[in-house]
Each structure stands twice: as structure tokens, then as C-alpha cells.
């Protein structure tokens, strides 16, 4: 059967733009309501701490190997490229400062968040999406349990706490990667690298990165849960929700990165 082709009539274009606009507004409204419900149900996340601890394990501990792998290469590549970028006008003994600030302020929090969005955000959307299409969410409601209290709040708290924790690990591992590659391939001994890192270090470097991680953590869990709850259809719908969760979370992470940076440094 021949597939009907989209014809670019003004009517079709207006319909398409209108539908996209409505979907966008629906998402904004839906997310706002979800955030409101999450804050109202936060006390329950602490009274059911076992659920929150379980999610912390999934989001934090189980993500650590992947975050470590990404971080070590991030540190190494930052050092290699910093040398290429600055060698003509800055002495190599300041390499530690350049690499350290880039990692602490920007690279570790953002890359950790993007990796976790791919790994955990998709997982949350797929898990809650499957629960939605197999009526498990309805089953929770029929048992007089609020899905936001029972499923979303623990994931939200886990994201909020574990992203900064993962970012601290990422900071340390990426710096180790930077030190390692500088010593072995770039002719900058570890004590020189670390001295320059210490000399120009400000607490703000670390805290700004952790503030970002705090925001990114909540974005990942909120978007994952939102897309999971909106899942319709069977396996196809679950797949679509997982993809949407990763795309939406990644975009929002990069936007939030700019917003937080503007607030802190602007």
C-alpha cells in the first residue's frame, strides 16, 4: 500500500505547528504538576527510606564503573588538548590549573549527568513505562498507594543525592587521568601538575560543579518518571518513552548548565 505523503499545504503546516505547540505546553504543564506532587510527597521518601536507598544503589553505585571509565578518558583528553591549545602562550607548569578548572567546573558534572541520563534516565522511563502499560501503576492506586509517593519521590531524592556524589568521584578520577597522561606523555611531572592545581584552586570551582550536579540529578529523575508515566501502547511505547527521556533530559541538562553558570558566574 502506498504511504500517504505529507503535502505542504498551509493547513497541514498550521496543524503540525499547532499540535507541536500543544504537546510542548502539555509537557510544561505536566512537568509542573509532577514537580508540585513530588514536593508534597517528599516526607514520605524519608519514611520509606528502603525504597530511596534501593534507588541510590541503582543510580549511584551501579553507575560508578561507567562514570569512572568516562572520567578517566575525559581527564586524559582534556590534558592532551590543553597542551595543544595553550603551549604557545602559557608555560606548561600551569597545565594543572587549566585542566583542573575545566574538569571541576564543567566537564565532570556535565559528562557525568549525560552518562547517567543515558543509563538511569532511560531505565526509569522504561521501568515506569512498563508498569504503566501492564497496569501495575493502576494496581498501586487501587491499593490506595500514591505512585508519586511510592515510585517518584524515592527516585527524585536518589538523583538529587547521588549525582553530586558521582560528580565528586568523577572529579577525582578525571584529575587522576589528567595527572597520569601529563606525567607519561606530556612531560609535566605530577608534583608540578598538582602544585598548579592547588595554587589557583578556589572552593567555588568545586561548589559550582556540585551545584550543577544537584540540578542535573533532579532533571534526570523527574524527566525519567514523567516520560514513564506518560507511556502509552505496548513495547513500542516503552521504547519511545525511554528515548524521549534521554533526549529531553540531555537537552535540559545543557540548558540548565548555561542557566546555573550564568547565575554563578554572570
Amino acid at each position: 500500500m502506498a504511504k500517504a505523503r505529507f503535502s505542504y499545504t498551509p493547513e497541514n503546516i498550521f496543524t503540525c505547528v499547532g499540535r507541536k505547540t500543544l504537546t510542548f505546553l502539555e509537557d510544561v504543564g505536566g512537568l509542573a504538576l509532577l514537580v508540585k506532587d513530588i514536593f508534597l510527597s517528599l516526607p514520605k521518601a524519608f519514611s520509606r527510606f528502603h525504597l530511596t536507598a534501593e534507588q541510590m544503589l541503582v543510580m549511584g553505585v551501579n553507575s560508578l564503573p561507567l562514570v569512572a571509565l568516562v572520567s578517566v578518558f575525559t581527564g586524559a583528553v582534556t590534558a592532551v588538548q590543553a597542551v595543544y591549545q595553550i603551549q604557545d602562550f602559557i608555560p606548561m607548569r600551569y597545565l594543572g590549573t587549566a585542566v583542573g578548572k575545566a574538569i571541576l567546573i564543567e566537564l565532570a558534572p556535565v559528562l557525568t549527568a549525560l552518562v547517567v541520563a543515558g543509563r538511569v534516565g532511560a531505565g526509569i522511563a522504561a521501568e515506569l513505562g512498563t508498569m504503566k502499560v501492564t497496569e501495575q501503576i493502576d494496581a498501586l492506586k487501587t491499593m490506595a498507594l500514591d505512585p508519586v509517593e511510592y515510585l517518584v519521590a524515592p527516585r527524585f531524592v536518589a538523583g538529587l543525592v547521588m549525582l553530586p556524589v558521582l560528580t565528586i568521584f568523577s572529579d577525582a578520577i578525571a584529575l587522576a587521568g589528567g595527572v597520569g597522561i601529563s606525567a607519561t606523555a606530556l612531560n609535566v611531572p605530577p608534583h608540578v601538575f598538582l602544585n598548579s592545581l592547588k595554587t589557583f584552586f578556589k572552593t567555588m570551582d568545586l561548589m559550582s560543579g556540585l551545584s550543577k550536579a544537584f540540578v542535573f540529578g533532579s532533571i534526570i529523575s523527574i524527566i525519567g518518571c514523567y516520560q514513564g508515566f506518560r507511556t502509552k501502547g505496548g513495547a513500542e511505547g516503552v521504547g519511545r518513552s525511554a528515548t524521549k527521556a534521554v533526549v529531553m533530559a540531555s537537552v535540559l541538562i545543557l540548558i540548565a548548565d548555561y542557566v546555573v553558570a550564568s547565575i554563578l558566574f554572570g
Binding site: 521501568e127 501492564t134 497496569e135 501495575q136 494496581a139 492506586k141 487501587t142 490506595a144 498507594l145
Partner: protein, 261 residues
């Protein structure tokens, strides 16, 4: 409390559905449903797939709100309840879902005991004992530590049933209780539904398109067609009716007033 309705004279009605309408975009699923569910009875709602039977159950539990009409449970209108009242209402209900809807991240014990652990302050050994009791009622033992994925379809249904009755509800709603089971397991489930009604004096509503099951478990059968209840009667009245739509449905014929496609 308003428990009077014309078709419940002489019997205490527990759930009254009055003029309920529900649409999904252009699809008018329910177009004015009127039905009274009496205390201690099993009422079966018959109808074709997609005719809105499951929607009706979800409306009764307050999982959806009707566009028009009211649903009174013990005299209280479900549609106008706030979250706290709905939570109280739902603790009086148990529901068996079509595909069981067991929480697959939990063991059988955690599934069946979830309501007890969340809503009561019973000590853990008591909860475990009650879970084992309910599992025994549905003919299961030594499955407490298994995950739902390791169970067969019939076992999942029975665990779902144990979960539905774990809190000793006043009402149990069954959504297609025998769909997807072999005839023998379907009969096991039918027998369980009957024994639960007799031993626990539960008021039940079952929606199904399985005529054999309906005849066996029902005290009264209601037929939902084109968004309305078109017939209510005992299984014998259904068998002997000359209502053309009901006859075509119970005979399973593609010829008659109900369009086959």
C-alpha cells in the same frame, strides 16, 4: 445515606451507578450506564471487547472520573471525593487485573503483603502469616519468595487474587478473570471466586466476555452494549431471554443485531 433505587427494592444496594457517561476524544464509550450492585452478590457485566467494561471498573475505583453521572459507593459519590477519601475508599476494594498486574520487582510475598505493610501496623510475623493464609485460600504454597516472572499465567492470576483479598475487602472487582487461561484453570478461578463470595461474603463485580464463567459465578448478569446496560437478570433469565442482542451474544453468533466487525 442514600441506598434506595428502583431496582434494589428489598435488597441493600452497595454500589449505584447512575447515568454514567465517559468519552475518550470522539469515542463515546459509556453513554448513560445505570446499574445497582447489591450487597453480597456477584454481578457479572458482559460485553464485547472494547465496549467499556474495564472503564466502568476504573470509574468505580475512582481511577478515572465520569464525564457525567454519579457512582455511589455506600452512598458516597466517588467522583467528588478528594485524594484522602479516595484512599479510604480504595482500602475497601480489591481488584484482580486482566493480566494480574503483579509488581515484577517484588516477590510474591511482597506483592500480597504490600497493602498490609503500608496501611496497617501489623508486626512482620503476622503479615507473613496472613500472606501465607491468603495464598493457601487460592491454592498456593511455598511460592512466597518467587518473583512473578517465574510463575505461570494461572499462578499469577491466583497470586493477583490473593493480593486483591489480602486486606479483607468489602468489594472485589474482577477484570476478565478467566481471559488467557486454559479451560481447567479458568474453572479453578471460577470456583475460587465462588468460594470467596461464600466464605468472606464479598460483594463482587466481574467484567468478562466468557459466558461459561459468567453463568457459573454470577448471581446477576448485566449486559453492556453500545455504552448502556441493556439487560439485567439472573443467569437463568439470561439463558431464557428472547432479547435479540443478548441472545446473539450468548450464542456467540456473527449474525444478528450486533455488527460482527
Amino acid at each position: 445515606m442514600n441506598s434506595w433505587s428502583p431496582n434494589s427494592l428489598g435488597k441493600q444496594s452497595m454500589i449505584e451507578i447512575n447515568g454514567v457517561q465517559k468519552s475518550f476524544r470522539d469515542n463515546h464509550v459509556l453513554r448513560g450506564v445505570d446499574l445497582t450492585i447489591n450487597k453480597g452478590e456477584t454481578t457479572v457485566i458482559l460485553g464485547r471487547s472494547g465496549c467499556g467494561k474495564s472503564v466502568l471498573l476504573k470509574l468505580i475505583m475512582g481511577l478515572m472520573k465520569p464525564d457525567q453521572g454519579e457512582i455511589l459507593v455506600n452512598g458516597d459519590n466517588v467522583a467528588s471525593m478528594n485524594d484522602k477519601q479516595l484512599s479510604g475508599l480504595r482500602q475497601k476494594f480489591g481488584m484482580l487485573f486482566q493480566a494480574s498486574a503483579l509488581f515484577d520487582s517484588m516477590t510474591v510475598d511482597e506483592n500480597v503483603g504490600l497493602g498490609l505493610r503500608e496501611h496497617t501496623k501489623l508486626p512482620e510475623p503476622e503479615v507473613r502469616q496472613r500472606v501465607a493464609e491468603k495464598l493457601k485460600m487460592v491454592g498456593l504454597s511455598a511460592v512466597e519468595h518467587q518473583k512473578p516472572a517465574a510463575l505461570s499465567g494461572g499462578m499469577k492470576k491466583r497470586v493477583g487474587l490473593a493480593r486483591a483479598i489480602a486486606m479483607d475487602p468489602e468489594y472485589v472487582l474482577y477484570d476478565e478473570p478467566t481471559t488467557g487461561l486454559d479451560p481447567i484453570m479458568a474453572d479453578v478461578i471460577n470456583e475460587l471466586i465462588i468460594s470467596l463470595r461464600n466464605t468472606l461474603t464479598i460483594t463482587s463485580i466481574a467484567v468478562t466476555h466468557d459466558i461459561v464463567s459468567a453463568y457459573k459465578i454470577a448471581d446477576r448478569i448485566a449486559m453492556l452494549y453500545e455504552g448502556k446496560i441493556i439487560f439485567v437478570g439472573t443467569p437463568d433469565e439470561v439463558k431464557n431471554t428472547d432479547h435479540a442482542v443478548v441472545r446473539q451474544f450468548i450464542e456467540g453468533s456473527s449474525q444478528g443485531p450486533i455488527p460482527a466487525l
